[in-house]
Symmetry: C3
Subunit: 132 residues, 3 copies
């Protein structure tokens, strides 16, 4: 499975992490490609303070309680656990890294920095490719 992660809002990243968990449970390999806002959200310094929702910002408190009741941890904890259990590689788009002036060490769980052709090549060969 290839996930091209353009978005960086914590709700969409929670959706990403849930899908990654499902794929790992099915023994699928997962390659995540971080583009602009995905890279921003994965910056270690932003992990916890990046809390703006993608929609219905006025429901933040209700959603936060609902997710707790549903037993869902923050997206980065779910992703970390999935990466420990299965094969999950996290690649950073080089242009996005440059735009945020970030090196590989600044980015949560990141494995390497890649170019656009590598994203396309991976998506072409994947059984599932989604743009998030």
């Amino acid at each position: 499975m290839v996930l091209v992660v353009f978005s960086g809002t914590p709700d969409r990243l929670l959706g990403m992490s849930v899908l990654v968990s499902g794929a790992v449970a099915l023994d699928m390999e997962v390659d995540i490609y971080l583009m602009l806002w995905g890279t921003y959200a994965f910056l270690k310094k932003n992990l916890e303070k990046n809390t703006e929702l993608s929609e219905h910002k006025e429901l933040a408190t209700q959603l936060s309680e609902g997710l707790k009741n549903a037993g869902l941890k923050p997206w980065y904890e779910i992703l970390k656990e999935a990466k420990e259990l299965g094969t999950v590689r996290i690649h950073v788009c080089g242009a996005a890294a440059k735009a945020w002036n970030a090196s590989l060490d600044d980015i949560f769980l990141a494995d390497d920095i890649v170019g656009a052709t590598e994203i396309i090549d991976a998506a072409k060969n994947a059984k599932i490719a989604l743009f998030i």
Copy 2:
């Protein structure tokens, strides 16, 4: 066709419904998987009052008139008609249902509640899989 519907804004859901109509016209089976905001938007109590656009909120009036001129009904009417004409199944992610404290009966046109592995399994076997 598998549509993983994370978003719940009425404009993106209109896009979803137009694609579902197209697939039904081509005799394709469609499986819709509702994630966080998708589930929220499909709550029967929210259908009509969930009007916030995904972008350019200042164009709401102009867009509303434009869509009327283009002959487009609201997304939920287009979807209902497509479901009557073809094979359209609507699945709800269990974690999303719990987060909104909703049961199957609360959710518009919903057929069943599923887990993340079922979403991935369906996407893997689909000719088209899109994340909306």
Copy 3:
């Protein structure tokens, strides 16, 4: 590669253009299908003045400088260059064109106007299909 472009924010369209460039570099054919906000953003009169980001609007200045440092041009320049170098076709969803009261001539780089079944048919036969 088929890109179903629903969104019209310049940041998501930059992501689109980067992926198109990558596909062209790999000699892949690209078919872009503009839906609602995609069509709006491609209106020639909107190209340069459509500057609202999809998220973190407060970072507009920082992002703009970061993108300049990363050597990235605006999305429409990257797309134009990719279309000159490779096979990139741009199709407009008929309903979206009507909603914005636009003809083919009003839309940047557009090749033709199509219906929803043509989008689905193209996605079904593509090696990669993404919803942006």
